[in-house]
């Protein structure tokens, strides 16, 4: 398949934006229900960062596409198969440990990814990546600390977080998905060598899990599909909620 640079860039930016939007949405579901007030504040703050990142990346995607679509059009008015986020971020919140494990796997990836993207020759993209990187470092510190506390806390918390890791591990492989879009942009020094992030990701994850006394699951099977728009059943419900106002009142401003 031939793909031109503009289409590739649009797709590439959309993936980042969709990851941020969908994960931000999931975290925001905690609003008012966190295990302690301080965590309610932290989770809301993290959700807010992700919505902000999504907005920046959608704005840029809309500009790259050049078809008069806005950031909101991209966020709220596509169909399920057009969303390109990884399966990991659409997984339900579950209990606090599930949310933290999902966040931790993603944060380690995101930090490595933004560090590279901040070096992009596409200055606008590099700029958004750099700004997002600052937030991501904070998110990673937050999720790592909780991984360790839960893993090395009580027997109950250890069992719970180990189970979260076992369940979510199968969605981590897809973080390193790449195809011709990435190849083309890497060639242009715009994109990121995503495959190369896998080793440092594993190393960092092992380090924290080790400290948390959590074992890495033995099963190797990895689920994928999100990056090509083939999602889990969860995404449809999430989008139904997310898009409710835009679908119920088409074309109105709020």
């Amino acid at each position: 398949m031939e793909i031109n640079k503009q289409d590739a860039l649009f797709e590439f930016v959309l993936r980042i934006a969709d990851d941020s939007l969908i994960l931000g949405h999931r975290i925001s579901e905690w609003c008012g229900h966190g295990p302690i007030l301080e965590e309610d504040i932290a989770l809301t703050n993290i959700a807010l960062d992700f919505v902000g990142q999504a907005t920046n990346f959608y704005d840029y995607a809309a500009k790259v596409e050049g078809k008069c679509r806005t950031a909101d059009d991209l966020a709220f008015l596509r169909f399920e198969r057009e969303y390109k986020n990884v399966l990991l971020v659409e997984q339900p919140n579950g209990h606090f440990g599930d949310t933290i494990a999902r966040q931790f796997f993603f944060d380690v990836f995101r930090k490595l990814f933004f560090e590279e993207l901040a070096k992009s020759t596409d200055e606008e993209l590099a700029g958004i990546a750099e700004k997002s990187l600052l937030e991501t470092k904070y998110h990673l510190r937050h999720s790592s600390e909780w991984m360790i506390r839960l893993g090395d806390g009580t027997e109950e918390s250890h069992a719970k977080i180990q189970e979260s890791v076992d369940t979510l591990w199968r969605y981590t492989g897809e973080l390193f998905f790449s195809n011709e879009v990435d190849a083309l942009l890497l060639n242009e020094k715009i994109g990121v060598d995503i495959a190369a992030l896998k080793r440092p990701w594993e190393k960092q994850v092992r380090e924290i899990l080790g400290e948390a006394t959590i074992e890495i699951p033995a099963h190797a099977w990895q689920q994928a599909g999100g990056r090509t728009g083939v999602h889990s059943e969860h995404l449809g419900y999430l989008l139904t909620e997310l898009q409710y106002m835009q679908r119920a009142y088409p074309g109105m401003e709020w």
Partner: protein
């Protein structure tokens, strides 16, 4: 009269003199037990209101109509959690335990603002809640910035700045809807119809039925009466509604030239008492949500404590 009582009377007189001279009371200063108790009750109720107040707005976070509104709403709910946090800290300066006061909320012993027992049914409610509920909160709280108890007064200064931001955001949403499509205007009017009276009830019972007011005013814990504050709120809000073409749902509302304020209809005090007693549309749901958050999160707290203890032990050895 024994020496102890004479001393107590002297102390109380001295205390009241400080208050009369507008000298702030600080945590380590002597204060009458009843002053302390009243403040613990009032500040913890206020804190609970901030926290329970996250729920009706959190209800729309996942359905906000666009990215900007989603971000603004999240930021607002985050502010409310922050207000809860400062207020619980202020309660703790009085020797109360934050978690004990929260358990009182969960057992139904402690109250919170009656307004949060009403449901947020449409997006327009995100506008109305900001406009009216944060608006009423500001009316209640601006005088508290001059409250006699230092930590509470200082918390209020910070909180009020953010509340007025919330009020403006809410009004902006409603004004946009009122000037939008016919469907949007209808959403706005319906929302105002549902929230107007509950917002007036936020100021509490009328002065003749308010059991705490007189003493609180003497102590400068309260600086204006419920009815005075309610009147101010009506006078500020009615012209705002008129400006954007919405109708206040009160057929008795009219300008009174003599008092230079609006006369308004009778509040349904039965409804108010019912909601206070736990029979509002969402009382059970709100308290259950908060209790569940704590109970479901208990293992997380326990883990954090256990981990901190292990770390401590390692350091010591």
């Amino acid at each position: 009269m024994d020496m102890k009582n004479i001393n107590l009377e002297d102390k109380e007189r001295e205390f009241q003199a400080k208050i009369d001279a507008d000298i702030r009371i600080e945590p380590n200063d002597w204060m009458p037990d009843s002053y302390r108790k009243t403040l613990i009750r009032q500040i913890s109720q206020h804190a609970h209101s901030e926290i329970v107040g996250m729920l009706p707005e959190g209800n729309w976070v996942t359905r906000a109509p666009n990215l900007r509104r989603k971000a603004v709403l999240l930021a607002k709910v985050q502010d409310e959690a922050g207000h809860g946090l400062y207020l619980y800290s202020a309660v703790e300066t009085l020797g109360a335990d934050r978690e004990d006061t929260i358990d009182d909320l969960h057992s139904g012993k402690a109250k919170y603002s009656s307004i949060f027992n009403y449901p947020t049914l449409t997006w327009a409610d995100m506008g109305t809640v900001g406009w009216l509920v944060d608006g009423a909160a500001i009316m209640n709280q601006v005088p508290l910035c001059r409250c006699s108890y230092g930590p509470y007064a200082r918390a209020m200064v910070r909180v009020c700045k953010e509340e007025s931001f919330h009020q403006r955001q809410g009004f902006e949403i409603i004004a946009g809807l009122a000037n939008g499509t016919p469907e949007q205007k209808e959403l706005a009017q319906d929302s105002l119809n549902r929230w107007w009276w509950p917002a007036l009830m936020m100021f509490g019972p009328s002065d003749e039925n308010s059991k705490h007011t007189a003493q609180s005013i003497k102590w400068k814990i309260k600086r204006e009466t419920n009815d005075e504050l309610r009147q101010k709120f009506v006078d500020v809000t009615v012209p705002q509604a008129e400006m954007i073409g919405l109708v206040i749902p009160d057929k008795d509302l009219k300008w009174n030239e003599e008092k230079q304020g609006y006369d308004y209809g009778e509040i349904n005090w039965d409804e108010f008492m019912n909601v206070i007693q736990g029979n509002g549309p969402c009382n059970k749901q709100r308290v259950d949500a908060r209790r569940n958050a704590k109970e479901n999160g208990m293992w997380v707290r326990e883990a954090a404590t256990a981990y901190a203890e292990k770390r401590q032990a390692k350091k010591a050895s």
